[in-house]
């Protein structure tokens, strides 16, 4: 009815340096995105996008970031993300870039997408991994994620998950 509508941008931080993700901090990231919007879209963009802007979720291990912005100005934020080229923390500069995975209207839709995305990523990792110990660990997490899927009683998804896992294991 009468409420402020938001857009949630689900992004992945991709970097060569493994230390880059660990030094992620929500305040550092927030200020980095704001500075980039100010550089790319000027005073107008900085002011318009900073009204409803917040870093809602941050995962330092996988590099997943969830940004929130107002629906009227989400394109300003989205278009400024490719201009972020490095992350600066305590004097160290790490080159990195942001990959936008999903734009959703609510946190719940982004969470649903993230669960499916992580499941697919696990299978890709399974194909690419070389070490036996790693392979077992990933297979365990794949079967666990398929089992979790069966509990709510969604038969179609669990069937396809089981098939994909079986194919990947072969």
């Amino acid at each position: 009815m009468v409420r402020f509508k938001h857009r949630y941008l689900l992004c992945e931080l991709v970097s060569d340096d493994p230390r880059c993700r660990l030094s992620l901090d929500d305040r550092v990231l927030g200020s980095l995105v704001r500075d980039t919007i100010a550089r790319v879209h000027g005073a107008f963009g900085a002011a318009a996008s900073s009204i409803g802007f917040a870093v809602r979720y941050l995962n330092a291990y996988t590099g997943i970031v969830l940004l929130r912005c107002r629906k009227e100005f989400y394109q300003l934020v989205w278009s400024a993300l490719p201009f972020i080229t490095y992350l600066e923390n305590k004097g160290h500069r790490y080159p990195c870039f942001f990959n936008t995975l999903h734009v959703g209207g609510t946190i719940r839709t982004c969470q649903k997408f993230l669960i499916q995305y992580n499941r697919r990523q696990l299978l890709i990792l399974l194909q690419n991994c070389t070490d036996e110990g790693e392979r077992e660990a990933i297979q365990k997490s794949v079967t666990r994620s398929c089992l979790l899927e069966e509990e709510p009683g969604e038969e179609e998804l669990s069937d396809s998950g089981g098939e994909e896992a079986a194919e990947a294991m072969e």
Binding site: I37, A38, R39, V40, H41, G42, A43, F44, S79
Partner: protein, 124 residues
């Protein structure tokens, strides 16, 4: 006898012109400040960059004519960027520390309209 009903025919010609032309004049608070054409264009681009950032400072803007004595110029901008250019000209306050202001004299989608201005008409 009642007059026969007249029939009307309305022809709508939709031809949105791609460019808008602006005649502007730069005024300084103290006199004796001169700019050449390149510095003038640099001033316009920096005004756009301050307000709208690097993306919109690269709008296709052309300075068609420039007179150094009166500091007046005719600009051409694509129609989607007219509002951005005009608002950034309005909010520009200074050049190299000296206070200045842009006066917008005429705006038109047709260049020919800028040749005559009824506001400058002097009636004898």
């Amino acid at each position: 006898m009642p007059a026969p009903g007249t029939t009307y025919e309305r022809v709508v010609y939709k031809n949105p012109s791609e460019y808008h032309y602006m005649k502007i004049c730069l005024e300084f608070q103290d006199h004796g400040v001169g700019l050449n054409a390149a510095q003038f264009k640099q001033l316009l681009i920096s005004a756009l960059k301050d307000l709208f950032g690097e993306v919109d400072s690269a709008l296709p803007l052309d300075v068609l004519t420039y007179e150094e004595k009166t500091l007046s110029a005719i600009l051409r901008i694509c129609s989607s960027g007219l509002v951005k250019l005009w608002s950034s000209l309005t909010l520009l306050g200074s050049y190299k520390g000296k206070k200045c202001a842009f006066r917008v004299i005429q705006v038109s989608p047709f260049l020919l309209a800028l040749s005559g201005n009824s506001r400058e008409l002097v009636l004898d």
